[in-house]
């Protein structure tokens, strides 16, 4: 099959989903009211609550939720063939992610813009709220460990990207100062910043940098992981305007340029998909498609992380309630299109089936490296870019995403530690520096504990990360469903995704648990067990809350 057809099918289906399904959701289920006074107006303070233009808000929401995860997931999951990954991304975006993201903004908007975590406490119960904190902590822990491993792998596979990746940080630091001190307007700075970044990318292949294979017995992979965490720790302690804000902005521009280039190159070159539609000849040790596909691709089909962004910041800036259809649902579609681009890159970007099989020789392989290789081939054929340059460009894009997520993730983890220090009255843990050290320490423990001393196997926990992320989505869906039931509206649009997610995550956790048991990997075994307990807990909580509410509704109707 030709990649152009796949691209048009996917984008077309998601667009129809926006035009038809999201309209149905907005009008019939959420019953959005343009005259509802949103929290942004009600509590307007110029700090947290600021009514914001819907396109600006969409850009903010989309770039906060889109990162390296919607690239890594599909790039691993095509091992089962492109059809399953494609279907799950497209239908997941339409029926799961869009509803979940828009629903999270709606739920928060109707509850004084409180975060989903706080809402869980109010709407569902106190027990679920503490559960929520634990699940969030686990997600952040895993995302930092996984991304550090993914970045270090990229830096080793593509040494030409080392100069632009670290150079981009200096570009961001300069932009931060220029904007903060109002030396130039942002239009000029954006153009200069993008030019500087692409000049670095252009120069990258001429100055490849490789670390020595071992230093004091530490492998190059492990060295990069240590360097990355040292960097992330420092970055997360800096004020946001200095580094995080300008880098996030540049990443946003990069995201649009990257998507535009990849889709443009696909349209021009029209490559054929070389990967099998259904891979009947999966490498040994590959787990079964059901349920693992549904946790391997989390972001890009449905991701609990979006609920945190949607209810944490987006809902506080919503100008009109009806805007949330565009911001939430179309934001999810933006991320789905990034995953779709990844699927095309990793299935059509290789010359022959044998090349593809060489990359996907065992489960957990592929990932971003395959995305960079495949995407670079497509860029070369479509736009005539030099393959080294194209690889550097895509590597920089992926690494910058992952790096920004690490910075944000570590910051959030630090806040959690500080909050725990506050709750349990541990004075030293309330301070920023020790809390950051604690956060970095736990992440390193996971990165090396899961992947061995060279840190190369950190991606083993990817499915476990996906599972935890889905659990978070499950909690958000539970909140939305509970609200719908309380309002006496049909609950199936969120209940069906919720049930599906719970069944798939618990099933996947059990399968992985057995796998870790057979491998005698007690570290991951215990981690899996913790997540499993949380998952079962959420399932029981959902059942008890929903049956109680449905019974109450029936009783109210009868009387």
């Amino acid at each position: 099959m030709n990649a152009i057809l796949l691209m048009l099918l996917g984008l077309g289906a998601m667009f129809l989903g926006y035009v038809i399904y999201s309209k149905f959701i907005a009008e019939k289920i959420f019953k959005l009211d343009p005259n509802f006074r949103t929290p942004a107006h009600e509590f307007e303070d110029g700090v947290d609550f600021v009514p914001t233009n819907k396109y600006v808000l969409w850009g903010h929401h989309f770039t906060s939720v889109a990162g390296a995860a919607p690239i890594i997931g599909p790039a691993i999951a095509v091992i089962w063939g492109w059809v399953p990954a494609f279907l799950w991304v497209v239908f997941g975006t339409i029926f799961f992610a869009g509803v979940h993201d828009a629903g999270a903004i709606w739920a928060s908007n109707r509850n004084k813009a409180r975060s989903i975590g706080a809402l869980t406490g109010d709407v569902v119960g106190k027990r679920s709220q503490s559960l929520f904190m634990i699940v969030i902590f686990l997600v952040l822990l895993m995302v930092n460990a996984v991304f550090a491993t993914a970045i270090s792998g990229l830096l080793i596979n593509f040494p030409s990207s080392v100069v632009p990746v670290w150079g981009a940080i200096f570009v961001a630091l300069i932009i931060g100062q220029v904007i903060f001190r109002k030396w130039m307007n942002l239009g000029t700075v954006s153009i200069l910043g993008v030019v500087a970044l692409y000049a670095l990318i252009y120069a990258g292949p001429s100055f490849p940098i490789e670390l020595p294979e071992t230093v004091f017995g530490v492998s190059d992979n492990a060295q990069w992981i240590l360097v990355l965490f040292a960097y992330a720790a420092i970055a997360s302690l800096l004020p946001v305007w200095m580094l995080l804000q300008p880098r996030d902005y540049i990443n946003g521009l990069q995201l649009f340029i990257g998507l535009f280039l990849v889709y443009g190159a696909v349209l021009i070159s029209g490559p054929e998909l070389v990967a099998p539609a259904f891979n009947t000849n999966v490498p040994e040790g590959t787990p079964s498609l059901v349920p693992l596909l549904f946790v391997t691709i989390a972001c890009g089909a449905i991701s609990g992380f979006h609920g945190l962004v949607a209810s944490g910041t987006t809902s506080k800036q919503l100008d009109k309630e009806t805007d949330l259809r565009f911001v939430g649902y179309f934001g999810a579609i933006g991320e789905g299109s990034l995953s779709l681009a990844t699927i095309i890159a990793v299935t059509a970007g290789f010359a022959t089936l044998a090349d593809w099989q060489a990359v996907y020789h065992s489960f957990g392989q592929g990932g971003v490296t395959a995305f960079v290789q495949g995407g670079a081939n497509i860029l070369q054929n479509g736009l005539g870019l030099d393959v080294d340059l194209a690889q550097t460009l895509l590597t920089v894009m992926a690494v910058l995403f992952a790096g920004t997520t690490m910075d944000t993730g570590l910051r959030l983890q630090r806040y959690i530690f500080q909050e725990w220090g506050n709750i349990y009255n541990i004075k030293w843990m309330e301070k920023a520096a020790p809390a950051t050290l604690l956060a970095v320490g736990t992440c390193l423990l996971l990165a090396f504990g899961a992947g061995g001393a060279d840190g190369s196997g950190g991606l083993l926990i990817w499915p476990l990360f996906g599972t935890t992320n889905q659990l978070l989505a499950g909690l958000t869906l539970l909140v939305i469903t509970t609200m719908l039931v309380k309002l006496g509206r049909p609950m199936y649009v969120t209940l069906i995704p919720l049930l599906f997610l719970l069944v798939m995550t618990i099933y996947a956790l059990l399968i992985q648990l057995m796998g870790f048991y057979h491998k005698s990997d007690w570290f991951l075994f215990s981690l899996d067990l913790v997540v499993l307990i949380a998952a079962i807990w959420i399932a029981l909580e959902s059942a008890s809350v929903l049956t109680r509410l449905v019974r109450e509704n029936k009783a109210a109707k009868a009387s």
Binding site: G46, V47, N53, H60, L186, G187, P239, V240, W241, Q245
Partner: protein, 90 residues
């Protein structure tokens, strides 16, 4: 006429870009600024609360200027009413 339209477009694009740049971090930055301002408030009003301040000769002049923010500040610090005797606020 055409040049005028282009200039307007660029200005408009610039305004949008600035909004995109600032919107995500507005609250974090404003909160950091507020923390700094709170510290400054405490320095200015410290003498009234019995904390000696070597610079009170200068900060005294600032008190009337900061009075507008005083009410917000003592509420934020968890004091329902003005903590200072002879310094009525609400």
């Amino acid at each position: 006429m055409k040049i005028r339209a282009i200039v307007d477009w660029v200005k408009n694009a610039n305004a949008y870009a600035t909004e995109v740049y600032n919107a995500p971090y507005r609250s974090a930055i404003a909160r950091a600024k507020r923390d700094e301002d709170d510290l400054f408030m405490m320095l200015v009003f410290s003498e009234l609360m019995g904390v000696p301040n070597p610079a009170s000769y200068y900060t005294l002049e600032l008190q009337p200027l900061l009075l507008e923010r005083f009410h917000q500040w003592h509420l934020r610090m968890g004091m329902e009413h003005s903590p200072l005797d002879g310094f009525r606020c609400c």
